[in-house]
């Protein structure tokens, strides 16, 4: 994407901000941090824009954002462990609509292995095809399908055992 200017980059951001934000949010559970991570992903890709091909741009931005989110989450967990800080009962975020903060759903998503979680969030929140997810995660399309099915089964089972289905 050599020669792309800032205005064009911002347009790409506008197009992908919402799906990226929704995926990242389910990793860090904080709206400000999620938006920062999405922006950081775009900033990092901007720095290497000369080496990015247009056809892999979307996959690259998603991959970068997810990696940043996963690292962020690991750092937060480590910090909580070191500082003996406990998890808040509910995510602290005043801007979210009511009902979004289902503790059961959050626990169910959090309990997923990262490989399943990536597939589930990309398919459910970014509306991506198996082929696109395979490109981002680096696995075959068939594997994407089986991982999504496993992730959904785990989440639904946990929600049922928690007694709540709604988000």
């Amino acid at each position: 994407m050599t020669g792309i200017d800032e205005a064009c980059w911002i347009e790409h951001y506008r197009a992908l901000e919402r799906p990226l934000y929704n995926v990242v949010y389910r990793w860090v559970w904080d709206s400000t941090e999620s938006q920062d991570i999405v922006q950081e992903a775009f900033l990092r890709c901007w720095r290497v824009r000369g080496r990015i091909r247009a056809e892999t741009f979307k996959a690259l931005v998603f991959r970068t954002a997810i990696n940043l989110a996963a690292n962020h989450r690991r750092r937060k967990r480590l910090w909580r462990f070191v500082s003996f800080e406990s998890l808040p009962e509910e995510p602290v975020d005043g801007g979210a609509p009511p009902g979004v903060w289902s503790r059961a759903l959050r626990d169910a998503v959090e309990s997923l292995p990262e490989s399943l979680k990536r597939v589930l969030l990309l398919s459910e929140l970014a509306g991506m095809s198996y082929r696109e997810i395979a490109e981002i995660t680096g696995v075959r399309e068939g594997t994407v399908g089986s991982r999504r099915a496993r992730a959904l089964a785990i989440v639904r089972r946990k929600l049922e055992s928690a007694g709540g289905r709604q988000q």
Binding site: E6, W9, I10, Y13, R14, E17, R18, Y21, N22, Y25, R26, S31, T32, S34, Q35, V38, Q39, F42, L43, W46, R47, G95, A96, P97, G99, V100, L105, S123, E124, L125, S129, Y130, L152, V155, R165, Q167
Partner: protein, 115 residues
């Protein structure tokens, strides 16, 4: 793609103003990228100065201290220096007197004369 009856997740709206913030970040990234060669050179110069202060000056001070220490008569033998003839001073009955070595026929016996 297979979708179940009810979506699992609600779709959230990101906080407003994201694009404007990203534009600011892109601009500040560009200006910091333009600044970096100067910053790097200044940083390198500061590092070299600090190294000089940390290693050169203490080393010099240490050399001076070492030199003073090695001048002491105790190091004469170790350093193979000619011993300077020094007068032997002793205290006798609360008086300081000079002692003079007298030749002895027995090497295990040393004789001194007090002045």
């Amino acid at each position: 793609m297979n979708r179940d009856d009810q979506p699992l997740f609600a779709v959230l709206e990101p906080p407003p103003g994201g694009a404007a913030r990203l534009r600011e970040r892109l601009l500040s990234d560009r200006s910091s990228a333009a600044r970096w060669p100067g910053t790097a050179i200044a940083g390198l110069a500061a590092l070299v100065t600090l190294c000089a202060l940390l290693f050169y000056l203490p080393a010099q001070r240490g050399e001076r201290a070492d030199a003073a220490m090695l001048e002491a008569p105790e190091f004469d033998r170790l350093l193979g220096r000619e011993r300077a003839a020094r007068p032997l001073i002793v205290d006798v009955n609360e008086h300081t007197v000079q002692a003079e070595a007298v030749p002895s026929s027995d090497p295990s016996v040393r004789i001194y004369r007090l002045r």
